[in-house]
Symmetry: C2
Subunit: 531 residues, 2 copies
């Protein structure tokens, strides 16, 4: 078929394929169904598009998130109708909160079929909107190009999740117009506004008066080229450099600028910010509590703290920070960075603690690794131990929908095939998207998964104590514990085609970790913790 | 704590617990989070509520579907915010299409927290509506009882999925009013209307003129007491008794009235109905194609076929049919039933086919079994082979969102602990909710899962041929095949705590099937098919 494929598209499906390629989209994470068959056929003999199957759609969307975070460009997804979209919404939610660009393609019934209310009919727009920054339904085959370009630009420029709804008849229908190749124009780079100058003046005034200043960094402010500039400004001002409890992508380890993370627990978070007189927002919003708690405020900063917005999430943080540096009269120059000082390897013992595991991970982390952190209960320990490890990118669950780690690792590994991906993963959350391991095996990805098996939703046990239940009874244990039976992650992983071992002591974990780091194929360690 | 628990609820969470119990709801399928902790605490020492954890929400909702189909009463769910709901939407979609009663409880942030747009904030109503027959947000603690009763009645009387959104502050907030116990009144039974008489007259007229009549049965018309009445009417009229390709619950096997199923493939479906002059709808809508195909009609009946609606899905089919019988002057009496004639056991050979497996399943199916069928590609074979097996209930995927089988089996087994549940399960669909096996193990449910491992989304390969691709290329194979690596379901099952074996010949399958039937705990057979 490839020899006879016409150079111009003949139907909407082929036009979609060509328009995505024109946009530079070369990876499609997919789980298609009957209504998407014409698009599958259009992709069939197209080697420029890498099609990656996920065995459940939350794997598909989570992988697109990881790819977008690390490549900076959107991948496409391919989802089957409302239910297929629904299955992938949780990780689209996380992607949207991380401001990851994704072109989210969702098939629908043929337009003529919708009125019949066939069994798979749903209101796709209603499902898509809460987790999308833009939603666009294709009206007919000739509309495919315009709709796709619109969605692509929305995904790239916000950046965020943009959903394209593709009815089957817009896919299979013939084209009545000629569609020239039309790669989208480059985005306008956000120029520094008068706002930056006003913020610079306000900061200068506060600095003179001895105010305690914090810079809260989000989005691209947490990596080069923005982060060193932020560091230089903070040094010059004597200000604190902060980030939110959960960040989409953060450059960390030796050679990077140290950023202080606001703790996740609400009381500690409030304490952390209580001493600030001024908080400058760079690429993020004013910090709020992850959850509400009776009697505690939702906003983490008190009313006495002045909030200044330097740039919003969609702005170019590096440009804004450079203007601020200039406006404050700070000369560009070297900035203090973290020196390489990984923790010592843990001492061997009869049982394995989260501290042991995180210390060993940090001690041996390869230079340039991508650390996908969904460790949840052990997050604070992992974060502390890896502070002065080898330089790495740190990816987290930004939206709080659990089950992001294993798919995120897929996307990161595909975007950066020369780097080691280490997914440190809570057991309860791992079970949400355990199917991802199969895709890791099929694509032969360089991913080491470390399951922190504490055999419970431990973070919720903590929350139970928060509501005054110190000794949980039958029903809460049945809802919060992952025992009876215990999950054997090594066995599950092998069933999904991934080599795996269990580790129950620091020595066993060290051996497993060395083996996992040496492997170039996916490898899983079930770190069975003493809790 | 149980000794000191006050007899009257003190907050919204306790009032919700008590109202659900007043409604006769005694099972809660759950995967809670921080915002639901007060409700978890309220349930903690309440032995009248059985709390069943699913490791992903599509397990939770699919189990509630199975429970509702077999018990006739709604279970409650407990889901965590928008993402938790999103994860469970696909099986709520199936439940809604099966008209299963479910009280779907979704936690939300405290009302005061919503405006802050914290990371887990989403538009829950927008997500819930497409898969719910009713959606109700609790406004404050004192509103909990009224809202819950409203949702319960909607779930019971439509029947269908009714979603209750519970903000955390409505859960933890104290009550300012006294709330008397108020069990809901019984539903009004739909009386036969003048419509039934008009339909009776029309049918009588058609019968006199020799018209070819079909009765299409849905919902409760597919089981006693309605089904024998429908059979009696069909016999008297010389009419065909039909059901849709996918039914929520169907009484089948020896001693039941034979019902002819409309085939799933669109061309065969149209042929099946082409010879009818009149189609009488009993508890269902006029049949439409599951998907649209270029050049084929969406409505399965031609314009020359007259459609008569005897009763809608929400009506009492048994009452409507009894009135129709009376209106047609047909005397109640015995009806022809299927005689027990299971197929012979398959002959042994070197490889295993879907025919072998389905024949063996039918040959040995225990009396009173509940057959959860998500065999998809092998559906027609399984249906044909089990026609004259021992009497059983037959449950299918009504909405087309794959991944229903293993959770459906959980709910059916909990509703009917004395019956054997046999889940015949396509491999690709099994992977959508494979986490369900853990819940089956934990609850020690009497479920035998049989995976039909053909190592592909075979039904989609068929659809590819339908769009003219006879020899799929690299990209479609990568999206439709489940090989490289092959899934080892026996190993995955053991990792999840379920005993399991693989079978590759009819003899091996026979031994495994006997073992699985004899077990009272969950058991899985990976039937590796020759394809």
């Amino acid at each position: 078929m490839s020899a006879t494929r016409p150079p111009t598209p003949v139907n909407g499906a082929e036009l979609l394929r060509d328009t995505l390629l024109d946009c530079g989209i070369s990876v499609c994470f997919a789980n298609p169904g009957t209504s998407e068959m014409h698009f599958v056929a259009a992709l069939d003999h197209e080697p420029r598009m890498r099609c990656v199957l996920g065995l459940q759609e939350n794997v598909v969307t989570g992988a697109a998130d990881g790819y977008g975070r690390m490549s900076g460009h959107p991948a496409a997804t391919l989802l089957h109708l409302g239910p297929g979209l629904a299955n992938g919404l949780a990780n689209l939610h996380n992607a949207r909160r991380a401001r990851t660009p994704i072109v989210n393609v969702v098939g629908d019934h043929a337009s003529t079929h919708l009125a019949l209310d066939a069994p798979l009919t749903t209101d796709i727009e209603s499902l898509a909107r809460p987790m999308s920054d833009a939603v666009r339904r294709v009206t007919d085959p000739d509309d495919v190009q315009a709709a796709t370009l619109e969605v692509y630009r929305a995904a790239r420029d916000r950046p965020g999740v943009a959903t394209l709804i593709l009815p089957a008849d817009a896919s299979w229908g013939g084209l009545s117009e000629q569609h020239c190749r039309a790669p989208p124009a480059a985005p306008c780079t956000a120029a520094a506004s008068a706002q930056v100058d006003a913020v610079a003046q306000a900061i200068a005034r506060h600095a003179r008066s001895g105010a305690r200043i914090g810079l809260l960094l989000g989005g691209k402010a947490l990596r080069r080229p923005a982060l060193p500039v932020a560091g230089r400004i903070a040094e010059a001002l004597g200000a604190r450099l902060l980030c939110e409890p959960l960040s989409g992508r953060l450059e960390r380890g030796a050679g990077t600028v140290a950023v202080e993370k606001i703790p996740y627990p609400i009381v500690k978070a409030i304490e952390c910010l209580a001493t600030l007189d001024v908080l400058v927002l760079v690429g993020c919003k004013a910090p709020v509590g992850f959850f509400a708690y009776p009697g505690l405020p939702g906003k983490l900063c008190g009313d006495s703290c002045e909030i200044l917005t330097l740039s919003a999430a969609a702005d170019d943080a590096a440009i804004a920070l450079a203007h601020l540096q200039n406006g404050l009269g700070i000369r560009p120059g070297p900035v203090r960075c973290i020196a390489f000082a990984p923790p010592a390897a843990p001492v061997d013992g009869a049982t394995l603690t989260p501290q042991d595991v995180c210390q060993r991970i940090a001690a041996g982390l390869p230079e340039g690794a991508i650390l996908c952190d969904e460790s949840l209960t052990s997050m604070a320990v992992l974060y502390a131990k890896t502070r002065a490890a080898a330089a790495h990118d740190y990816l987290q669950n930004t939206g709080g929908a659990i089950g992001i780690g294993p798919p995120l690792a897929i996307g990161a590994a595909l975007a950066c095939p020369d780097r080691k991906v280490v997914n440190v993963q809570a057991d309860g959350s791992a079970m949400y998207t355990i199917q991802a391991l199969w895709t890791q095996a099929r694509e032969r990805l360089n991913i080491l998964t470390i399951i922190l098996s504490n055999r419970s939703y431990a973070i919720l046990h903590h929350e139970m104590r928060g509501v005054g239940i110190d000794s949980p009874g039958e029903n809460s244990r049945r809802m919060l514990d992952l025992v009876d039976p215990a999950l054997d992650f090594a066995q599950i992983a092998r069933g999904l085609g991934v080599e795996a071992v269990s580790a129950r002591t620091p020595r066993e974990f060290a051996a497993a970790y060395a083996r996992g780091l040496a492997a170039s194929a996916p490898f899983l360690i079930d770190a069975v913790l003493c809790t």
